[in-house]
C-alpha cells in the first residue's frame, strides 16, 4: 500500500520536475544562443542585439514550459473520465449492473485497487475490472507524458527558431510577466467569488430542504438529520444569532472597549516614551496568542472561576461552559485591535486642536474627553465595528469555552451557543456532504459572511471618510 499508494501522484510530481528541469535547460540554451549573437555582433559590445541574452533564455523557457504545464493541468481533470470510458467500452463491462449507484461503487473500487489505494476487493465484479483499469490507467498515463513532452519540445523549438539578434525578446517576456502579475491579483477576486459561490450554492440546497423562514425566524435550534418539508425541523437560528451577538458584540465589547480605549489614551497621552516602547509590544502579544490557547485558558481557568463567582453571588444554576467566560477572554483578545485603531485615530487629530484646548487652561483629561475623543470618534467607532466583526467570527474560544446548547437567554452565567460553534458541531460528525446538517453549516456560514462583510465595509468607509476630513 505504501509502495503503490502514491503512484499516481508521484508520476505527476516527477513529470512536473522533469518539465521544470528541461525548462532550465531551455533557458540556458536560449541564453547561450543570444550570447553568441552578442559575441558575433558588429559595432560595439552589444551591437545590434535588441535584448540582453537572459531575456532570450526566458523567452525559450516560457514558450516551452507554459503549454506543457497547461496541458498537464487539463489532462489531470480530463484523464479520469477517459479512463472510465475506455473501461466501460471493454466487453467485460457489459456485465455491470444497470443501477447507477451500484455501478459507481464497483467502478470506484476497481479504480482504487488498480491505483494501489486499496488492496482487497469487497465486490466480486470489481476484481474483474482491475486489470482493465490498470491497462487503461497506464495507457493514458503514458499518453499524457508523451503529449506533455511533445508540447514542451514543440514550444521550445518554435521559440528557438525565433531567436535572432534583432528579436525583441524583452518585450515579449515582459508582457508575460505583466500577465502573471495580473493573474496573481485576480486570485483575490477568484477566492472571494469562490467563497461567495460555494456558500450561496450550498445554502440554496439547504433552503430547498428547510424553509428560509424557519431558519431566519425560528427560535428552536435542535437540528434533525432527516427533514420533513413544512414541519418544524429544529433549524431556527435565532438563538444562535442572539448567542453570537451576546458573546461577541456585548460581553466581549464591555471588556474590550474600555480597556482598549483607555490603554490607547494612556500610552499615547500620558506614558513616557520608555514605557510606551515596552508596553506597546506587550499589548501586541495579546493579539499574537493563538485563539486555541485563549480557548483552553477560558475553559480551564476562567470558566470555573466565573462559575464559583456566580455561586458566591447566589446564582445556583451557573453553567461550567458559561457565556461570560468566553466573552471575557474574547474581549481580552480584542483589546489590541481596539487599542491600535483608537491610537491611530487619536494620533490623526490635528495637534492644533489639542494645543488650543490646553492653551485655554483645560487639563489633559478634559482635553482628551472633550476635544480629542469627539474628534476621533468616527475612527474609534470604525475600529469598534472591526472588532465586533472579529469577535463574532471568532471560533476556537467559543468552541472550547462556550456551550453547544442553543439557549435564548440574557443570563451571562448560563450556557449559550454561537454560529461558529454550531458550524464546527454540524461538520464534526461523519455525515455525507449532502445531508441537511452539513448544508446548514454553509447557511450559517453565509449569514456570518454577510454580517462580517457588511461590518467591515461600513467600518472601512467610516475610517476612510474620517481620515479624509483631517487631511
Amino acid at each position: 500500500m505504501v509502495q503503490g499508494g502514491n503512484v499516481k501522484f508521484m508520476t505527476g510530481t516527477a513529470l512536473l520536475f522533469l518539465v521544470l528541469g528541461l525548462g532550465l535547460i531551455g533557458w540556458i540554451v536560449g541564453r547561450a544562443r543570444a550570447s553568441g549573437f552578442v559575441r558575433n555582433a558588429k559595432g560595439g559590445p552589444r551591437g545590434t542585439v535588441n535584448s540582453l541574452p537572459y531575456y532570450h533564455g526566458w523567452f525559450v523557457a516560457i514558450c516551452a514550459v507554459t503549454p506543457a504545464l497547461l496541458f498537464m493541468l487539463i489532462w489531470q481533470s480530463v484523464s479520469p473520465a477517459l479512463v472510465t470510458n475506455m473501461v466501460l467500452s471493454a466487453p467485460a463491462a457489459a456485465e455491470l449492473p444497470q443501477d447507477t449507484f451500484a455501478r459507481a461503487a464497483i467502478l470506484s473500487e476497481a479504480r482504487a485497487i488498480a491505483q494501489g489505494f486499496q488492496t482487497t476487493a469487497f465486490q466480486d465484479m470489481s476484481g474483474k475490472l482491475v486489470p482493465l483499469y490498470r491497462g487503461a490507467l497506464s495507457y493514458y498515463k503514458w499518453l499524457g507524458v508523451a503529449a506533455t513532452l511533445l508540447l514542451f519540445f514543440a514550444g521550445g523549438a518554435f521559440a528557438f527558431t525565433r531567436l535572432k539578434p534583432d528579436f525583441r525578446a524583452r518585450g515579449k517576456v515582459e508582457r508575460v510577466i505583466m500577465f502573471g502579475l495580473l493573474l496573481a491579483s485576480l486570485i483575490a477576486i477568484i477566492t472571494t467569488l469562490g467563497i461567495f459561490a460555494s456558500l450561496i450554492f450550498e445554502s440554496w440546497r439547504f433552503f430547498s430542504m428547510v424553509s428560509p423562514f424557519e431558519f431566519l425566524f425560528g427560535t428552536d435550534w435542535n437540528p434533525k438529520s432527516v427533514v420533513t418539508p413544512g414541519a418544524d425541523n429544529g433549524y431556527g437560528a435565532i438563538p444562535l444569532f442572539w448567542g453570537t451577538i451576546f458573546i461577541g458584540a456585548i460581553i466581549a465589547m464591555i471588556v474590550a472597549i474600555p480597556l482598549g480605549l483607555m490603554s490607547a489614551i494612556f500610552l499615547t497621552q500620558y506614558a513616557s516614551a520608555n514605557v510606551r516602547k515596552w508596553m506597546k509590544p506587550i499589548l501586541e502579544i495579546l493579539a499574537g496568542v493563538p485563539t486555541v490557547v485563549y480557548g483552553y485558558f477560558a475553559a480551564l481557568t476562567v470558566a470555573p472561576a466565573v462559575r464559583d463567582f456566580a455561586v458566591m453571588l447566589g446564582v445556583s444554576n451557573a453553567a461550567s461552559d458559561n457565556a461570560l467566560a468566553a466573552g471575557i477572554v474574547m474581549g481580552v483578545m480584542i483589546i489590541p485591535l481596539v487599542s491600535s485603531m483608537s491610537d491611530d485615530s487619536i494620533a490623526a487629530v490635528p495637534n492644533a486642536m489639542r494645543d488650543g484646548s490646553l492653551a485655554m487652561g483645560a487639563t489633559k483629561s478634559e482635553t482628551i474627553k472633550q476635544v480629542l475623543l469627539p474628534a476621533a470618534l468616527p475612527g474609534v467607532v470604525g475600529g469598534i465595528l472591526l472588532a465586533v466583526s472579529r469577535a463574532i467570527g471568532e471560533t476556537m474560544i467559543v468552541v472550547m469555552a462556550a456551550g453547544y446548547t442553543a439557549n435564548l437567554t440574557a443570563n451571562p452565567f448560563d450556557t449559550i451557543t454561537t454560529i461558529t460553534v454550531q458550524i464546527v458541531a454540524l461538520l464534526t460528525g461523519d455525515q455525507d456532504f449532502g445531508s441537511p446538517h452539513t448544508l446548514a453549516a454553509f447557511a450559517l456560514g453565509l449569514a456570518l459572511f454577510i454580517t462580517t462583510f457588511f461590518l467591515n465595509y461600513v467600518a472601512l468607509r467610516v475610517v476612510k471618510k474620517y481620515r479624509e476630513a483631517y487631511e
Binding site: A184, I195, G288, P290, L300, S365, G393, T452, N456, Y457
Partner: protein, 421 residues
Amino acid sequence: MNKAVIDPSPTDWNGHIMQKRIASRYAAERRFKAMGFMAVALSTLFLAFLLFTMLGQGLRGFQRTEIAVEFDFPALTSGATAASVTGPNADAALNSMDIPGLVELAVGQQYAGLGDSLLTSAAAENVRQMLIDNPELVTSKQTLWLPADSRLDVAFKRQGEPAAEKTVSALSEKDALRTGFNWTFLTGADATDPSAVGIWAAFKGSLMTMAITLLLAFPVGVLAALYLEEYAPKNRLTDMIEVSINNLAAVPSIIFGLLGLAVFLTIFGMPRSSALVGGLTLALMTMPVIVIAGRNAVKSVPPSIREAALGIGASPVQVVFHHVLPLALPGILTGTIIGMARALGETAPLLMIGMRAFIPAAPEGFTDAATALPVQIYLWSDEVNQGFVEKTSAAIIVLLIFLLGMNALAIYLRNRFETRW
C-alpha cells in the same frame, strides 16, 4: 502645573470656591490617568496570568515519572547474549524474548500487590530500545527506569486519585520513583495514553502545511502587491481587486475552512485531512495579509528611485524587479512572517477540512492524513483523562515559543533592514 503661577485677575482665583474647583479638576485628572494606567496594567496582568498558568502546568508535561524496575536478564531471557540481540537477527531475537511479558513479570515480582498497571503502555517499547542501544544490558542484572502510568504520573506530580496516591507513596518509600525528562513528548505522536503522547507528528504536520502555505501565498502575494502598487490602471477591475483583498483580510477564518471543504475536498476531490489541503486553505487566508504588507512596503520606496532607473533606460518591469522589489523586500518579509505566524496558530479552518483525525504516526507525504499543532492542542484539551492537562499546556508552550520566535524575527528584520528615506 504649579498653583503659585496663577495670575491674580478679576476672577478670584485664590478664593475658596475656585480653589475647590481646581482641586476637584485635578483630582479628576488624576483619576483619569489612573484609569488609563489600570487598563494597561489589567491587560498586561491578564497576559502574565495566562503565560504563568500555561508555564506552571506545561513545564510538568516535559517531565515524566519513572519507576525503577529490576530486570534479572540472564534469568528472564534464559541466557541471551549481547551478540544475540545485535546483528541482522536482532529483531527476531528481541521479538522472541517477548519483552512485554518480561516487563510484566519483572514488575509483578518486584511490586506485587501494588496493582497491575504501574507502567505506561509504551514501557515495553522503551525496554526494547534500551536493549538495541546497549546490548550489554542483557548479560547481567539491571535496574531500568521506566515511565510510569499516567495515573501515577499525575499523582506523583500533584494530587491524583486516592488509589494512585497510595501506590505512589508505597513506591516512594522503596525509593523507586524519580522524575526524568520526557523525550517521548518531543519525538512521539498522538496516543490514547497521555504518558505516551508526543507532539512531533503534529509539529511535522504543521511544518508541511506551512511549507505549502508559504510556497503559494508568498509569490502570489508579492506579485499582486507589485501589480496593485506599480502597474494597475485606475478602473473597475482594480477597484474590485482592492475590495476583494481588503475584505478577504477580514473574513473569519472559519469561512476559509468552509471554502476548503466545499471546493478542495468536494469539487476537486483532494485527500481529506492532508497537509496539502490545509496548506492551500491557509494560503488563501494568508495571501491578503502579505498583499497588504507588501503594498505598504512598496509604497514606502521613494519615487526618485523609480525615476532614476527609468531615466537611464530601464523598462517599467526592470525598474520594479531590479530596484523597487529588492528595496521593499525587508518590509514584505516582515509582513510575510507575521502572516505565517497567524497561519501557524490557526485552528478553525483546519478543523473544517478534517485535520482533526487521530494521527498515531507522523505524516510521510503531503497527501497523507495529518494534523497540526494547534489542532492537536484542541484535541487534547477535549480529553477527559487528567494526564492530558499538562500535555496540552506543554504543547501550548511549544507553539507559543515558535510564534514569539517568529514575531521576534519579524521585529528584528524590520529594525535591521528598514531604510528610512
